[in-house]
Amino acid sequence: MFMIDLKAESYYSCLDIEPTATAEEIRAARDRKSTEIKTRRLATTDEVLRHKLDEELTEITHKGDALARPESRVEYDRTNAHLRFFVIRPAAAPMYVEKADRLFVLDRVARRFLAKKGVDVTALCDLYRTDFAADEEPVELLDRLLA
């Protein structure tokens, strides 16, 4: 049976960051990893190990640069859609997940609640309005037909 592999290696996993990381986080991770490798390289005299660390450094730099550049990151993400898809999702109502959703939803709830109490509250913006009668304009020909 074919099973997806949640631990499949990716540029992100090599840099120890999430696929949702920002460009700054990517650059920071790349630099941190590079510094680690350089420190280890300086601490050894073993030529074989130094060569291996050189290769590691090249690889980390390449991967970090590829993700740090927006164009190449878009391309990488497009060909690795699973990295962003195979993640746990919040399943609660948006109000419990996103601050912005919560603010807009509860604002509407509060306004509706106050309107029921007879308070004259304006909608937050036109997106939440349903009555646009004020935007109608008289058009003689149409109004004659409707009369």
Binding site: D107, A110, D126, E136, L145
Partner: protein
């Protein structure tokens, strides 16, 4: 009271709708060009229809589109179309419409703020642009420069450099652009549209780290304009945004609120603060229940305050947090607000358990959520990932199947194939990509290593099937995601009517192929809605005017081009697999070739082939990609043909071969050769069942033995046409009527089983020959019998005479001779009729002998 109002409002809206529809029909009924007045009336009519309460959002968008088409210079129609798109989540479309409205009415602050809102719904850099625009509106700064950036962003959508997202314009570019372009929007005065303060306060609070100074400014504005309601609501939002109760209370000390303490908004805020400041779950619930009973707080707000205090983010263990919810009155727990609260708590703890590696607890909690709401896709998705993480063979297939099925069920239930489409697209692409990444070899590998990896892919049938099915589902989802009819069908804007018809048929076939055999609930309804979308696109694409007007064509072109690139790349992957089947020793080549071929050749090749050819994707002998794919498919199929083990095996191979042949329409000659090859293999398998020493019978006895063995072999391999014909020839050679009858039976039984044209022809010809020969053979047998009977009768009479030389014996010989002569005459007559000259001659000779003998006896 409210009920009465509602029941009155509905028929009124319906009446209004009917009247508007009649008016629109009347206005549009006139042939030829419409007068300007008629166009304006039609536009207003469509607008009013769109804004009527109860109008379906999709219908509303269509009405507004028509309004824009009738009167493209009224900003109102563009603005409302933007609003309608914005509400349905098409923020990019909304940005275009708001921008169009602003070009007609550059000073409309109402439009500007909605443009800013739509921009903030997009990703950076547009999101940032939206925030800056909103800020500029609040500050009363000029938005001219920002509008130039908006225009740049929109332009970049229309002409994106190699399909990339637009970048924020550089300052230098911005300056030069603003010098050259006319002022786009505001004269640079403070925003008069009050909504901007309300909206921008929420946007500031929604930030990860809100700027206190900016928030203060908004509250100052509410104070300056003596707006106690929005001040109180602002404080409530501070609480909702996570400000501590004390901080909110400090802000409430403002004089404005003190003087409006009897305002319902203030009472709402006070109640919320009172409930939020309770020290433990029990007192919290008691206070909340009381507030709801007294109608001081809405349920949704209470639920959020509960979650904020005692949800999964707190220190309570999961059990205690759930027990706290149970303290609310039982009947309330069935209300949607409390169901969502319970789900939020369960789900929050489930995610905590997942992160802590407590997978059994996570599974338990998510299953609990599914029991409350079996249609929550995110939970099904999480359980599928959990099955993957635990590598549970028992749970994995069911969990993934359910997660996919739910996604289609939602779209089917809504009757809209575009609902959740991006999610489905990502699902199928992710699965297809993961298979490919696991098996498709990197370019830097050696030939042997590449071949080994491809072989491993072909051997993992489940992985191959997953890749083939998921990629096709991704392709169909991608096609359905286009709003432009030509992109949905996958054709060029100037495609001929024939090609448009072909694209429609091809896409419909692909849709059916993708979903055949799937037993997901609602899948048939989904297929129907998808087919309807294709038909609607076809209808639009068939009208030249509609094609020319297509507002999404340019916008979606980069994605459409990308899908074509991906399709061609996918086909090239499949071609690599076919080559591997040809070159490597993989089992069940025919089956593999067919699986790949079925997916490969149901793509719209009439559209893709010219694109590939234009890109130079042709072979050295100038064959197109389709020719090459056909050649490879047949070669792969040919490699899979083998001597069958039995008839079922032969039938299976033949069925697969026929399906392959049907896919490769251009390679008639090659498909014919393959059929011959399979026929030869079936014959070979059948002949192997007959002992070698009987294969060339030397006498009748051996022939009979061969026939017996041949019959047995034919029973096992009824499709062995060569063996059948050999048996028939032998039977014909023996020639007796029973054998000929058997030959006829063999040929008639072989007729429906023959699958090679030459075999069919040969069978028919031989059958005709034998059917023609049967009457002669029967006559010949009858004549021989008559002649033998005549001879036997005479012999008996002569023997009797030789034993007893009596007059009676002599008389008997005479009588026998008379009877024998009668028989011989009958035989001669029959031979004459059947044109059997040798038998006629034989009869004549025998007649002469008997007549001579009879004469001699009479003389004696």
């Amino acid at each position: 009271m409210s009920k009465i109002q509602t029941t009155r409002a509905v028929p009124s809206a319906d009446r209004q709708r009917t009247r508007l529809l009649v008016a629109i029909a009347k206005l549009s009924s006139r042939d030829g060009n419409l007068l300007i007045a008629e166009r304006l009336a039609l536009a207003e009519g469509e607008f009013r229809l769109a804004e009527l309460p109860g109008t379906d959002p999709v219908e509303s968008i269509e009405n507004l589109r028509r309004a824009v088409a009738h009167d493209p210079i009224h900003p109102k129609f563009h603005f409302h179309l933007g609003l309608a798109l914005h509400r349905t989540g098409d923020c990019r479309g909304a940005v275009f419409c708001y921008r169009a409205a602003l070009q007609l009415a550059p000073a409309s602050q109402r439009t500007l703020i909605h443009l800013a809102l739509a921009l903030t719904e997009l990703k950076d850099p547009e999101k940032k642009l939206g925030e800056e625009l909103m800020e500029a509106l609040c500050q009363g700064q000029s938005t001219k420069e920002l509008m130039v950036q908006v225009d740049d962003a929109l332009k970049a959508y229309l002409e994106p450099p190699s399909g990339q997202r637009p970048q924020a314009a550089s300052k230098k570019k911005l300056e030069s652009a603003s010098k050259n372009k006319p002022a786009a929007a505001l004269p640079g005065e403070p925003c008069h549209w009050e909504g901007v303060w309300r909206v921008s306060l929420l946007h500031h609070l929604a930030r990860f780290k809100p700027f206190n100074k900016q928030i203060d400014k908004r509250f100052d504005h509410f104070t300056d304009s003596n707006d106690a309601i929005n001040f109180a609501l602002g404080c409530l939002q501070l609480l909702v945004a996570g400000e501590p109760v004390e901080a909110v209370r400090r802000r409430m000390n403002a004089d404005l609120l003190k003087s409006h303490s009897d305002q319902p908004a203030m009472q709402l805020l006070e109640a919320a603060l009172r409930v939020a400041s309770q020290p433990n779950p029990q007192s919290f619930v008691t206070a909340a229940v009381e507030a709801i009973h007294k109608e001081e707080l809405p349920q949704d707000l209470v639920c959020w305050l509960h979650f904020a205090a005692y949800g999964s983010g707190g220190s309570l263990p999961a059990g205690e947090a759930l027990e706290a919810v149970e303290l609310y009155p039982r009947e309330w727990l069935r209300e949607p607000s409390f169901v969502e609260l319970r789900i939020a708590i369960l789900e929050g703890y489930a995610r905590r358990a997942w992160n802590a590696g407590e997978l059994d607890l996570a599974r338990l909690l998510w299953n609990e959520v599914l029991a409350m709401d079996p249609h929550r896709t995110a939970v099904a998705h999480n359980l599928a990932l959990l099955a993957a993480r635990t590598r549970s063979v028992a749970e994995y297939p069911g969990a993934w199947d359910y997660a996919a099925a739910l996604r289609y069920l939602h779209a089917a239930a809504a009757g809209d194939p575009r609902l959740g489409l991006e999610d489905r697209r990502s699902l199928h692409l992710s699965l297809a990509q993961q298979v490919k990444q696991r098996y498709f070899p990197a370019k830097n590998l050696s030939d042997e290593a590449q071949s080994a990896q491809l072989r491993a892919w072909l051997m993992d049938r489940d992985a191959l099937d997953t890749y083939l099915a998921e990629w096709d589902l991704y392709y169909v989802a991608s096609r359905l995601s286009f709003r432009s009819p030509v992109h949905l069908l996958g054709i060029a804007k100037d495609a001929s009517p024939e090609l448009t018809v072909f694209a429609r048929v091809s896409l419909l076939a692909k849709i059916r192929q993708c979903f055949e055999g799937l037993r997901w609930p609602g899948v048939k309804t989904f297929v129907k809605t998808a087919e309807d979308a294709v038909e609607a696109a076809f209808e639009h694409a068939s009208v030249n005017l509609e094609r020319a007007r297509d507002p999404y064509y340019q916008q979606e072109k980069p994605e459409a081009d990308q899908l074509i690139d991906e399709s061609i790349q996918h086909c090239s992957t499949l071609n690599v697999l076919l080559i591997e089947i040809i070159q490597d020793d993989v089992p069940e080549k025919l089956d593999l070739a067919l699986r790949i071929g079925r997916r490969l050749f149901t793509l719209p090749w009439k559209v893709l082939e010219p694109i590939c050819t234009a890109r130079g994707q042709v072979s050295e002998d100038n064959k197109t990609v389709v020719d090459i794919f056909e050649r490879h498919l047949l070669a792969a199929a040919a490699g899979g043909l083998r001597e069958p083990d039995n008839d079922a095996d032969a039938a299976g191979q033949l069925e697969q071969l026929e399906l392959c042949c049907r896919l490769t329409e251009r390679s008639q000659k090659e498909t014919s050769t393959l059929r011959h090859n399979l026929a030869a293999m079936i014959d070979s398998a059948a002949f192997k069942l007959i002992p070698e020493d009987l294969l060339q019978p030397k006498d009748l006895a051996q022939a009979e033995k061969f026939l017996a063995e041949g019959r047995k072999a034919l029973e096992k391999f009824p499709r062995a046409c060569g063996l059948r014909m050999t048996l028939v020839k032998l039977l014909k050679q023996i020639g007796d009527p029973a054998k000929l009858d058997e030959a006829v039976q063999l040929l008639e039984a072989g007729r429906p089983l023959a699958f090679v044209d030459e075999q069919k022809a040969s069978l028919e010809e031989t059958l005709k020959e034998i059917q023609d020969a049967v009457p002669k053979a029967r006559a010949s047998a009858d004549i021989r019998e008559l002649l033998e009977s005549a001879s036997a009768e005479m012999s008996t009479a002569i023997d009797e005479l030789n034993r007893r030389q009596t007059p009676e014996a002599v008389e008997n010989v005479g009588k026998a001779a008379t009877r024998a002569l009668e028989k011989i005459d009958r035989a001669a007559e029959l031979a004459g009729k059947s044109e059997l000259a040798d038998l006629e001659q034989q009869a004549s000779k025998l007649r002469g002998q008997i007549a001579e003998f009879a004469r001699k006896i009479r003389e004696r």
